[in-house]
């Protein structure tokens, strides 16, 4: 079932970007220095943005680059900068790692079996070509209340983050 694929442009792009994403993620867990891990995960995030472009979600891809590569990764690099790291993982815990690997592989097997078993087929109607316009229209009509709630959540979270990081400084 997997092997009778036709080599369309979308498949080639999907395959290359998927290999990049998985390679970045696996490399991130195997590298020892924290900064290398962060940059490797930034590579994964960029590959996922490419996958969003392949899926026709250009606006989501743009937000992905802006938010994950531009903000979250840089925030983590600042987090590394503000704290002191003894660059490498010193002692490993083989039992815990083996148990976690077995659990994750079991979960992956269950998920892949469920995905294969569900028999998804591509839907009928195609989406409108101008995804950004449609997202903007939806966001300010049907999804206006969730949009406002998310903006309130973001403000509260950022004020809370500043308060948490600052109050400890006053206490010293």
């Amino acid at each position: 079932m997997i092997f009778n694929i036709e080599l369309t442009g979308e498949f080639i792009a999907f395959f290359l970007l998927a290999v990049c994403a998985i390679a970045g993620a696996v490399l991130a867990l195997s590298l020892t220095k924290v900064v290398h891990t962060t940059l490797s995960l930034a590579f994964t995030f960029i590959s996922l943005a490419g996958l969003y472009v392949v899926l026709g979600a250009e606006f989501v891809a743009f937000v992905q680059v802006l938010l994950y590569v531009g903000a979250v990764t840089i925030l983590m690099i600042f987090g590394i900068m503000m704290t002191r790291h003894q660059d490498t993982e010193e002692r490993s815990r083989p039992l815990l790692e083996a148990l976690a690997a077995v659990g994750c592989i079991a979960l992956l097997g269950i998920l892949i079996f469920a995905i294969r078993d569900a028999g998804f087929t591509a839907g009928g109607a195609a989406l409108a070509a101008d995804s950004t316009r449609e997202i903007g229209r939806l966001m300010f009509t049907e999804m206006a209340i969730p949009f406002e709630l998310v903006s309130v959540l973001l403000t509260v979270a950022f004020i809370g983050a500043v308060a948490i990081a600052k109050r400890e400084e006053d206490a010293e």
Binding site: A57, F78, L96, E97, C104, A118, G123, L127, I135, A165
Partner: protein, 101 residues
């Protein structure tokens, strides 16, 4: 193209992120692995927005909301990390065990 390919890729990324959360001791890597898991969920949402039974833009919109919540989570996570570092002078998650003693 089959949506199952995208779902399989998302499952693989989710499991890699889960493995990172469970085994890594550095709090920054744990936070980044959580971001990876959230990204895998976003890929599912966007894939279903194109290849679902009823394609619509709601999936892409929900992935935008997920990204917003993930950004808030990352900001609060780094703030807690810095506060903990000031209190304990370490970033290893298995040394934050005061409640277990």
């Amino acid at each position: 193209m089959n949506p199952a390919s995208y779902l399989t890729l998302a499952a693989i990324l989710f499991c890699i992120g889960l493995y990172g959360v469970l085994t890594k001791r550095n709090a920054v890597i744990v936070l980044l692995s959580i971001e990876l898991m959230l990204n895998a969920v976003n890929l599912n949402l966007v894939a279903f927005s194109k290849y679902g039974v009823q394609p619509s833009f709601t999936g892409q919109l929900f992935s935008l909301f997920t990204m917003t919540v993930a950004a808030a989570e990352a900001a609060v996570g780094v703030a807690i990390l810095i506060a903990l570092y000031r209190a304990r002078a370490t970033v290893n998650v298995d040394e934050f065990d005061e409640l277990r003693r």
